[in-house]
């Protein structure tokens, strides 16, 4: 079996990795906004 080099593995998957990071960061920002807005309403 041919082993996949770290470099090849890295460059093979990067678009989905980038997408995952952008989604995670966006969701986190939305969570923070939601928490901030909720506190403003409650306090």
């Amino acid at each position: 079996m041919k082993l996949e080099s770290p470099l090849r593995r890295l460059y093979a998957h990067w678009p989905s990795g980038l997408f995952a990071e952008l989604c995670a960061a966006t969701l986190f920002v939305l969570l923070l906004m939601g928490v901030g807005a909720l506190i403003a309403v409650l306090v």
Binding site: L7, G17, V29, V35, A37, A40
Partner: protein, 507 residues
Amino acid sequence: MWIRPTSDDVRQVAYYTGVLAAGVALCMSVPLATAIALGEWAAAMDYVLGMGTGLAAGGALMSLRPARGSLDHRHAMVISALGWLTAAVIGAVPLAFSGNYLSYLDALFDSMSGFTTSGLTVVVDLDHMAHAHNMWRHLTHLLGGQGIIVAALSMAVGLRGGAFSLYVAEGRDEKILPNVMHTARFIWLVTAVFVAVGTLALLLVNAYSGMTPLRSVLHAFWITIAVYDTGGFAPQALNALYYHSWAFEAVTMVLMIAGGLNFNLHAAVWGGDRRELARNIETRILAANILILTVVTAVALAASAAYGTPSEVVRKGVYHVVSAHTGTGHQTLHPAAWEGILGAGATFAIVLAMAFGASVSSTAGGIKAMRVAVILKSVYKQVKQSLSPSSAVVRVHYHHLRDRELTSRMSTAALTVTILYVLAYVTGGLIGAAYGYSPLTALFESVSATANVGLSAGITSASMPTGLKVLYIVQMWTGRLEFIAFFVLVAGVFVYLTSPMNDRRPL
């Protein structure tokens, strides 16, 4: 035992510092090309002079190359410390000629702030600065964000020998790929992709806001560099407040968070392991910290009369917590509004966010989430040990790219750097207070400089005392180096100068 540096050691350091100076000078070809393309001839001449100065200084230092000897970890630490200073000194030359700075010291302040990705600025009349100078200011964020050494490594400007020592000396303690040159290039790839995505997104936002095409492109590019590299410069004096746009703030917050992530985490996720995002202790601590400080800031703001509506809490509170915690430093507030309008509670929460910082091996400064995680785990280990039988061997594990066991060496290293940061924060705050500023404002500015954030509560300006300018330059420099390389430089110089003359051959 101290190893006395020899003349060959000094020549080795001088040679590599010269290589970095020449590298910075060559990078000025980008603003030079911008000036020529846009017909900014006075600015073009500034960059010709800057390149000339850098290449002359670099060439002179490179001529000291020793005939023998190779780079070791001591050289690497000193080169790293001097490299950042040299880059700032050379990078300040064209800015000093721009007419937007009152003195060379002011230009050096902005240059150091740019390379260390701080974002504090003492520029005058920024709104009328030449595009070429703005290009250079933001380019310093890009070069500094990658790490001067990494930038030079990836451009292969003669730093092949001892490359790994140099890489480690710059505070990047883990290689992403087995080959350090591939690692340096991967860091550039990640940045290039995020800068491309961010520029495109902000270009659309700017165009929708009604900016002319050229300004849309330039502002989008500069702001993306500034937020992804967690810098903080902006091409307008009002900083991010100038854009006054929800979409702008949302896009930049996403980029700030991406910029605050560890490059090793990017490598893991881009290599297909998306679960690492949620499993990594550093990401967890960073997210938890941001969330806690968001709650504190939101409560403080909601209780205040100034910014109490949900929209204002989100736009002024969440934005600044993210900007501070990731070390970016973009702000949508007038500096005087911090303590004056937001109040002490929200301002202190922002100070804490700046002090903690984002991830290690990212473009951010500050104590960083990994060290906070190690310290918390150490406390947990102590408690667990106290409650266990005396014969028990207590082991504590955490997950960072792989499962690891907490060692006392890790705890010591994390505590040492954390204590140095806290000392620098407090010392800078005390000095600022001694100049007559309020203690909270002085602490705010000191933490912002040391943690390379760039938020300003109003002290930083062209008219601030010269002593504070020098203090913040030193804080930005040493904070970026995480102190140890700076102390190695100071100790090395001291040991060299105090060694008997017969140990030192003429250079």
